[in-house]
């Protein structure tokens, strides 16, 4: 059964279309990620699902509920981590979690939550003295203390250092292992690849690509790049067959090919025969990050509101 079902969702602010005809499903128990640059409509989408905003049109169902009309029931069953940090600096970590726990009918054990987010040793510290990563982990604690079926994490690691991000990843992976459904938004492809079982790349309020990271990789990452050092122009005697498809810039020669093997064969025999030094050669398959950047730049090059 679907935990979330979104169909033809539209939302605009002052005539600017933030989300346009958006449709997707999230299955129970999966970690679903919305990936996209700033202004892609990720937060708008999540805040409609959370019940903070009203859709202009389209239908939204979260845990079988309508976020507008059944907000009270929805809030009992979901946990939130909003995009911006919102904590009272005067309270201690433990007081903050306790204050949230009492708002839920059957909250989780506070001591267990403290251990889960790795803040037990700091439980009596004032929130105002915590680092950015610690504050974010505390907010995740507030998101899970009500023992929710569904957790929304809006850009949980934006602005954090790499170590703090890793710690939060581990924490999110553990949440998913416990069977919670997770909806995550992010602008980092590495984060989405590490955490999400399925993802949608959002650009300009629309989904540009959707699927499991592995499938997207297979569908979209169709080219490899062969690269080696070359000074300004191709070396003398370079194989004529490859010369038309080889470009030279910034001290590199590059060939972009679906299947790099035949070209590699030609290059190798040429280098061996001519005694040319090819020790700088590398072959890289396109990765999802490249695909993501490509989709973002393609879409953003189009005029606002254009259909794909």
């Amino acid at each position: 059964m679907s935990a979330i079902s979104v169909s033809q969702l539209c939302k605009s602010y002052d005539g600017r279309q933030a989300v346009q005809d958006l449709s997707f499903e999230v299955q129970k128990g999966e970690t679903f990620a919305l990936l996209g640059p700033n202004g892609a409509g990720k937060t708008t989408t999540i805040e409609i699902l959370e019940g903070y905003r009203q859709a202009d049109s389209g239908s939204v169902s979260v845990l079988g509920l309508d976020p507008e009309k059944q907000a009270a029931e929805l809030k009992r069953r979901t946990g939130l981590v909003l995009q911006t940090t919102a904590l009272e600096p005067e309270l201690t970590i433990k007081e903050t979690i306790t204050a949230f726990a009492r708002l839920y009918g059957a909250p989780r054990e506070i001591a267990a939550v403290l251990v889960d987010v790795n803040l037990a040793h700091l439980q009596d510290n004032r929130v105002g003295n915590l680092s950015g990563g610690q504050k974010r982990r505390l907010e995740i604690a507030l998101g899970i203390v009500g023992d929710p079926e569904l957790i929304f994490l809006d850009e949980p690691t934006t602005g954090l250092d790499p170590e703090a991000r890793r710690k939060i990843w581990t924490l999110i992976q553990r949440l998913n292992d416990n069977g919670s459904t997770i909806v995550l938004s992010s602008h980092y492809m590495d984060e989405v690849q590490a955490l999400a079982s399925r993802m949608a790349i959002m650009v300009d309020g629309q989904i540009a690509a959707e699927g499991r990271p592995r499938d997207l990789q297979r569908q979209h990452c169709t080219h490899s790049t062969i690269r080696f050092d070359a000074d300004g122009k191709l070396p003398a005697g370079f194989p004529a067959k490859l010369a038309p498809i080889t470009t030279v810039h910034d001290g590199h020669a590059e060939l972009v090919l679906e299947d790099p093997a035949p070209a590699l064969g030609i290059l190798m025999s040429w280098a061996e025969a001519e005694g040319h030094d090819l020790s700088s050669i590398s072959v890289t398959r396109q990765n999802l990050e490249d695909i993501y950047l490509q989709l973002v730049s393609q879409r953003q090059a189009k005029p606002q509101g254009a259909t794909p």
């Binding site: 809030k75 911006t84 904590l87 309270l91 708002l103």
Partner: protein, 263 residues
Amino acid sequence: MLIQEAIHQLRLFSRRPAAVFFVIAMPLVLLIVLTQLFGNEKIQGLGLNTAQFYTPALAVFGVVMACFTYLAVSTATARDLGILKRVRGTPMPPAVYICARIIAVSVIAFVSLVLVIATGALVFGVEIIWERAPAAAVVAVAGALCFASLGMMVTALFRSSETVQAASSAAIMPLAFVSDIFVRPSTETSEWVPLIGNLFPLRHFSIAFQRAFDYAYEGNGFALPDADGVVYSILPHMGVMALWGIGAAIIAARFFRWEPRAI
């Protein structure tokens, strides 16, 4: 949930030294300074000692600092920090959260009021007329609710904690001077000062509360016949406070926003 949230709000207040100073200590300091400044003797034309006048006046000021200024500024600050928005994402009903904040500031106001009156009585020999305590309590509760309502209105009309802070101070400080709080009424005051004061709820709050300490009158405090038998009633004052309070509540409910201003 309501009581727990009110206790939570009281804990937050206790951790904010600046707020504790302005709400709890400032009225006490003013009471001591003003009484020393003017000397604790009979005020001409009023028949009261300096402290007998300033004690209820500054008790009212403390209530207003808690219910109006602190409520408005702390709520606006919580909104700026995104805390109000976050609270909306929990199962706590919004009305419970707002009521808990109002209960919390009312408790703070009560503590401030009791401290001012106790200091007046113990240090400056202010006479407490116990039979008027119920009337004084009714006036204090009405004033607390009226100014809490005004505080929420200011938070609703201004979008950041800085502007809320500025607006609430700009409203209260001048009014306190024309509302028989900082300045003792005297025969030399021009006639328009009380007229302006009477348009706003603060003077009605302070006069109605001061009557409970005014031994020039007799009676239980709700209706006070003076020496000539003219009955002085607190009802008109309560009426003005009710009008302002209800009006402010309607405006607050209409314009209140939970989300911080978009950056």
